[in-house]
């Protein structure tokens, strides 16, 4: 038996990692992922980073999942739709 629960977007979130992007004039050249480190004697800081791999990006895309895609597509297609909407359908 496997158990799961969901309730819309009600699940609590927590900082899991930060992605740092490095680049020059021609765009992003390198990215690293850092996990937050809870310092027992001070404020939290970002731990040493790891270079981002394709596998990491694939997992990230999978976990962001359909909710992210939905938002992306809704925005993209809505704008596309508006752009190509024939003038005859404009509301007076």
């Amino acid at each position: 038996m496997k158990f799961d629960a969901s309730f819309g977007e009600a699940e609590a979130l927590q900082l899991k990692a930060a992605i740092l992007l490095y680049g020059g004039a021609r765009g992003i050249r390198f990215a690293s992922v850092h996990e937050p480190y809870r310092d027992p004697i001070g404020s939290p800081y970002l731990d040493a980073g790891r270079a981002i791999t394709t596998e990491f990006l694939r997992t990230l895309a999978h976990e962001l999942g359909r909710e992210c895609l939905r938002r992306f597509f809704r925005r993209t297609f809505w704008h596309e739709h508006r752009k190509s909407r024939p003038g005859g359908f404009r509301r007076r």
Binding site: F3, A12, L46
Partner: protein, 338 residues
């Protein structure tokens, strides 16, 4: 370039690692959590252990409910995915505006299902009394009818009709009978123990027959478990929702994976029908709907209580069926390919 001997490590605010909930994301989750507590499902310790997070709390009480039952026995019937939430299926997903906030589901879907070939059990029981196999079979079907979705001879009927039609059409078109394979009949699949001449024993006759069997024998344990399963299934009624409600809840669900297959032998028409249906289901690319679900109104404590009572009763029947299947010769587990 940064000035100085080295870069200072940037620091976060002290509370940045604490869990948080985006504003306007509650959507009734706290109301449900409160009403679960008021309904006596979960307690203050569960809430504390869940860090006051309603979704963790829901997950925690679901695991706690499941822990009251024999997991091994339930897994003998089917490996299941149990989901508690506003989305009625494991992989299900809806637009926010399509979600009804007054409906929370407890759904159960199978990821592995069992298959049992009953002929071996019929042979075992038939040697004691020729009427025991049909009595056992009727009790088994009656026990699972309401609560546990099984693939049995009745599910195979449309396929059998289709096979007969194909066979008749081919014959009518002039194909030689030697080249045609006649579909197996249900009577042939059932075997002689379920022939019409053997009528089921009455409850009094059954009690007398069972009491004459040695208490620790396999036959006696099978019959005792079947009688216990039947009694348990009659303790609470569950009415499968009407088709229109089913359609409303699972508009994309075109098939349902059963928990177990009740066949007669490995090459019978029930297995053949299942194989054909399975190909249709899995190649169709459609969503499945759960084999068991209950719905509750998160604002109504009695509705929550009733849904959980149904859920517990369902698990208790799965457990009792699992204990019975573990005794039957010829039970196996199949993986569902998704």
């Amino acid at each position: 370039m940064a000035p100085g001997a080295g870069l200072e490590i940037p620091r976060f605010a002290a509370a940045c690692l604490d869990p948080f909930r985006p504003s306007a994301s509650d959507s009734g989750a706290f109301t449900l959590a409160r009403n679960l507590l008021l309904a006596g499902i979960g307690d203050a310790d569960d809430w504390r252990e869940s860090n006051s997070d309603p979704v963790s709390f829901m997950r925690r009480i679901l695991i706690k409910e499941g822990a009251q039952f024999n997991k091994h026995a339930i897994d003998s019937v089917a490996h299941t995915s149990i989901v508690f939430g506003m989305h009625p299926t494991t992989g299900g997903w809806r637009e926010r505006e399509e979600v009804n906030p007054n409906r929370v589901f407890l759904t159960v879907e199978a990821t592995h299902i069992s298959v049992v070939y009953l002929r071996a059990t019929f042979d075992l029981l038939g040697r004691i009394d020729v009427r025991l196999p049909v009595t056992f079979y009727r009790m088994l079907l009656d026990s699972v009818r309401e609560w546990i979705l099984c693939y049995d001879e009745s599910a195979a009927e449309p396929y059998i009709e289709y096979r007969i039609e194909c066979y008749e059409e081919a014959k009518a078109s002039g194909e030689s009978e030697e080249g045609l394979e006649a579909p197996q009949t249900l009577e042939a699949a059932r075997g002689h123990w379920l022939a019409k001449r053997y009528q089921p024993l009455s409850p009094r006759q059954l009690r007398a027959s069972v009491s004459s069997i040695q208490p620790d024998s396999l036959e006696r344990r099978i019959l005792d478990s079947t009688v216990a399963l039947l009694a348990l299934s009659h303790n609470r009624r569950w009415t499968r929702p009407e088709w229109n409600f089913w359609d409303e809840c699972f508009p994309d669900g075109s098939y349902t994976i059963p928990f177990t297959v009740l066949a007669f032998h490995e090459e019978d028409i029930v297995c053949e029908a299942l194989q054909s249906d399975e190909e249709d289901w899995l190649n169709g690319g459609e969503e499945s709907s759960p084999a068991f679900f209950t719905v509750m109104d998160p604002n109504d404590i009695s509705s929550i209580r009733s849904a959980f009572e149904d859920f517990r009763h369902f698990l208790s029947i799965m457990e009792a069926l699992g204990k019975l299947l573990a005794l039957l010769p010829g039970a196996d587990l199949l993986e569902v390919e998704n």
